[in-house]
Symmetry: C2
């Protein structure tokens, strides 16, 4: 397939993220079809006119015949068994995923011997909803989609993943698995844990406290409305990186608590937080240009650009 062609797309798991990829791919003109384990979910998608089946071997055989890009969109606990089926029925297909954590998925891919055709992915979008009913073809519009540039990445599957992400309306951040996982521990998994702790503390104040709660509590606890199983499936596979950033955060909170006790001030956390939020508000996404996929050093150039805030807006 040439770098400009749009091949077929096969989405495994049509929940919020996978289902939205399927919708967005169809809207962008791809031949796209999918699999969903729950019969209800598959039927809901079919009733909306999408080609989704509950028969994984059949769907994967079709993907193999169509040389489809397989998009793994199941929660982490289901990744290994579904990859075993991919290895059995569609081992030559280009393969990506939209799971939150990249290191453990790459490990599972290697265990099945699928690494040569694999390029990790992670669209940074979502809501606290889940399931087909929550899918939205515009979910990825204007979002960031992390795409792997790990050692050994091949141009053809990489180009297909990048093209799909761009066609879904996202910009692409090139990043290696380990650095991705450290970053999302900070900006996705830690926010989940802090939202849970805040929601629990608010409810600890009873109806009076919840009745007085306004914008800061509402926004700070929004993602605590996510189903607990989903939160665990998102955060726990990144235990190592999350543990480190939790350590850092616990230390910052202990310092604030101790400063309050000692002299009635919050100490450094207020200034540090304000600087952090200001850096977030003023972050600039600059476009990476001039890198030719497959040319000498292309992966390294992309990695360095991603670290400095660069994004791809075109192939």
């Amino acid at each position: 397939m040439s770098i400009d062609e749009r091949g077929a797309v096969c989405v495994l798991g049509t929940g919020l993220i996978g289902g939205s990829v399927l919708r967005a791919a169809v809207d962008a003109g791809y031949e796209a079809f999918g699999y969903n384990r729950s019969a209800d979910g598959a039927q809901a998608a079919r009733l909306d006119g999408f080609d989704v089946s509950g028969d994984l071997p059949e769907v994967l055989s079709r993907a193999a015949a169509a040389d489809a890009l397989v998009v793994l969109a199941v929660p982490m606990p289901a990744v290994a068994p579904v990859l075993a089926e991919v290895a059995a029925y569609a081992p030559e297909c280009a393969l990506t995923d939209v799971v939150s954590v990249k290191g453990p998925v790459a490990d599972a891919v290697r265990k099945q011997g699928l690494e040569a055709r694999y390029v990790g992915g992670h669209p940074m979008a979502g809501t606290s909803e889940s399931g087909w009913a929550a899918t939205d073809p515009e979910l990825f519009r204007g979002a960031v989609w992390a795409v792997g540039v790990d050692e050994g990445t091949r141009v053809e599957p990489w180009s297909r993943v990048v093209r799909l992400a761009l066609d879904c309306g996202s910009v692409v951040v090139p990043v290696v698995a380990e650095e991705h996982d450290q970053a999302v521990a900070r900006i996705s998994h830690l926010p989940h844990v802090l939202a849970e702790a805040l929601a629990a503390a608010g409810a600890g104040g009873g109806e009076l406290a919840l009745g007085l709660a306004a914008g800061s509590f509402r926004d700070g606890t929004r993602v605590a409305g996510t189903a607990p199983d989903l939160v665990r499936a998102i955060c726990e596979p990144n235990a190592g990186a999350l543990e480190l950033v939790l350590d850092e955060t616990i230390e910052a909170l202990i310092a604030a608590r101790d400063a309050l006790r000692a002299d009635g001030t919050l100490g450094e956390v207020v200034e540090a937080g304000y600087r952090g939020r200001s850096a977030y508000d003023s972050r600039a996404r600059w476009e990476i240009t001039g890198v030719t996929p497959g040319a000498d050093g292309w992966l390294d150039e992309l990695r360095r650009a991603g670290r400095r805030g660069g994004v791809l807006r075109a192939l």
Copy 2:
């Protein structure tokens, strides 16, 4: 003044909250005027057609002559000196405040001998903006406004404060100072501290992390965009209650971190947070009726209703 009359309103401090009270009171048909320490702020309000002066003795003398309800809307560090002026120039006026914390304001009021005419208040509304430019007459529409029902509260100033809150579009939660301060430590001050810690942790991941940040980080750090001095002025006067809830939160985070380390799970925090957010989403504001201000036990009846999630929608 009868319980149905709308007397004059004098707002001291025309920043985000005070200025919005002034605008809302004027929109509701009150004679309303104010004071602002900074000449720029006062002039900005005058240019928008509001009667705001930088001369505190003059404004308070006018309040005394008009028997105005004085609304103290300065940051906590300015409360004591402004109250000294109130005691000098308008000691007979009904007095309320819109400062975040109630115990320390009540203490400062008692030091000036103004407690007989004082009823504490706290509208649960705000943005991360500040100053006259951010004021909005609709800021309190649909919001909750905490109004004091502490021992010794008198009917006439209490009724005027409740009427003003209702006329600004809010519902009123009756609450004593200590319980208010414990509650807001949980649902307002803790959210600020966690937002600061999260923003700092995100920025610790550099441009890559901030570039990958999406909704959970954006919402979880929103209030970290508030000016640091304002965050301190809001949170630090409630040091005692905030310290206790910070202790509780640090313990919950340590338990999560230890569970991650021990067996790769987040432990209880996820379920506790989900239950807390669900309780928040399903909280019901029921209307308190049948309490006659001034009748035997009225303050106690209102306190008990407020603890159970009751609100006043009418006088």
